[in-house]
Symmetry: C2
Subunit: 320 residues, 2 copies
């Protein structure tokens, strides 16, 4: 995404101040269990990331008061759920690095990492209940359930030869977009904005975010995306570029993804997918979703509108 | 525990009717994601178990109305969190059977099982938010965080030669007793009873439950406990019987648990622990906790009191 500073500039002085409070609260949460026990959860939280979801909470809330505790709790809760899913994903993928640091599973093993993810999930709801908003708890628990369903769907569709575009999009919605939706819904609750419309905005840019992720997996380059090209293929995850390319290239249509063994195999298939023009199609679809998301935004103060537009554009103009 | 029918008799007609509703709701939750996707979560829920925690919710609530939806939601939420921890435990222990059925990890692999556990966690909070009680959400999210901390503590203490009784009891509190506490607290919220006292009652019988579990791991017999004797030892989990026995038997004090390799090794250590009288000490401690728990119960209607007493006695008079 575009430098976060540009979003902060557009959003005005109060948003960076709230985001600093979010960061401080994340640090507090990571140490508030005292002992070395929560070291792993602490490391995960501290490792940072784009903080895109907390930013969405703040921007959807409108012009937030830096003094709003409930806004900070909501933003932190969404990021904790996100962190929980990353830790569990790393367990399942046996990933060694995330954001340039050793993953919890790499440094402490599967048991610690699974428990750390569970802790982050639970802490998210403890944090959110500090807002005293039942609507917020409902929104986040629904999103969390759907994230898990998305992961189940991804596994049951792994290696499959007949994933349709519709099914792919539903999976993207479940595994990614619902948390973007929840972030915007939590912001709407805080700012008393329209929950449905802001939620749909979030969902659409979440979908675009996932589509672009899937394009970058095929297009690389690894030195910019930070992950090996074709990792999804080796993992059996069937994404839009492959689905589109299969409709255009008979040899790809006949390909058994399960037979791919090496990074070299995967790179060769990526190049073949790219040659069909499927990446442009997928990218165009992501851009269309972003345009759609921006178009449905209700009348909003100029600064809020500009900041949300920047974030929406940012999800399809990024490399990692 | 004693036959649940005895508890139902003591508790009166309304409790079995509410528990039937809990069972029906568990079945509904397990299918309400429609697709085969949620099959694994459904199987886990349907596989049943003692339903001890939902029963505590109902009994702590007092004389519940079978028509109380919020009571059913609370009871189901607690059992879903319990189910989530079981599914994740099975992933970590690579267990093949639970309650006589294949575990999720055995039938569907680690990915599916991790996601299934996450789904059950999230669904628990979605279910609980239907009660519209923020106090309930706070109580359960605190308990869930502590359960995860308990698992982290168990792993960081694994194989350790210097786990104190105090540290062992704190681990039991975190990994087991907090959910018994939450069950009673949720019941107290529903029945407008004293949350602190009922919560402490729950915590004490939860501790006793875990102590007896740890005694049964050493004493067997496997055909009654349903698990191999000394499984904790092979897993590196240091429990009260070993801690007590080490203080009485020099050879046990010098034992490196990490060196135990086979079921035969573990059985031999179990017999040596039993010979020190440590099992009786641990069992006495569990009985003392149960007596303490019963003694702090406030003035309650006779039926409710009798039913809670029966459950409290039941946790230390069981084999599985």
């Amino acid at each position: 995404m575009k430098p976060v500073e540009a979003v902060f500039d557009a959003a005005g002085a109060s948003v960076p101040r709230v985001m600093q409070r979010v960061e401080r609260r994340m640090a507090e949460v990571s140490v508030d269990h005292g002992a070395a026990l929560a070291r792993h959860a602490g490391e995960t939280i501290a490792a940072g990331g784009k903080r895109l979801r907390p930013l969405l909470v703040c921007l959807a809330a409108g012009v937030p008061s830096p003094e709003s505790d409930t806004l900070v709790h909501s933003a932190v809760a969404v990021e904790l759920v996100h962190g929980a899913t990353l830790v569990h994903d790393d367990v399942l993928d046996a990933s060694l690095l995330r954001r340039g640091r050793p993953t919890v599973v790499a440094s402490s093993g599967r048991r610690m990492a699974t428990a750390t993810g569970d802790l982050l999930f639970s802490r998210a709801f403890a944090e959110l209940s500090l807002t005293r908003s039942l609507s917020a708890v409902c929104a986040l628990s629904r999103a969390s359930s759907e994230l898990a369903l998305g992961e189940l769907m991804q596994r049951s569709d792994a290696w499959s030869g007949d994933v349709t575009v519709g099914r792919y999009l539903e999976r993207c919605r479940l595994k990614t977009a619902v948390l973007f939706r929840a972030a915007c819904e939590l912001g709407a609750i805080e700012g008393e904005g329209p929950m449905d419309t802001l939620g749909t905005f979030g969902e659409q840019i979440g979908l675009a975010f996932q589509l672009l992720d899937d394009v970058l997996d095929v297009s690389g380059p690894p030195e910019r995306t930070g992950k090996p090209q074709g990792a999804d293929l080796l993992d059996g995850t069937i994404t839009l570029p492959l689905i589109e390319a299969r409709a255009r290239d008979r040899e790809l249509a006949a390909l058994e993804v399960r037979d791919l063994r090496t990074a070299t195999d995967a790179r060769a298939v990526c190049e073949r997918i790219a040659a069909t023009g499927a990446l442009e199609t997928a990218r165009a679809r992501a851009l269309q979703m972003v345009a759609g998301a921006k178009s449905i935004l209700p009348a909003l103060p100029d600064r809020q509108r500009a900041a949300l537009d920047l974030v929406a554009d940012g999800v399809v103009e990024r490399y990692s």
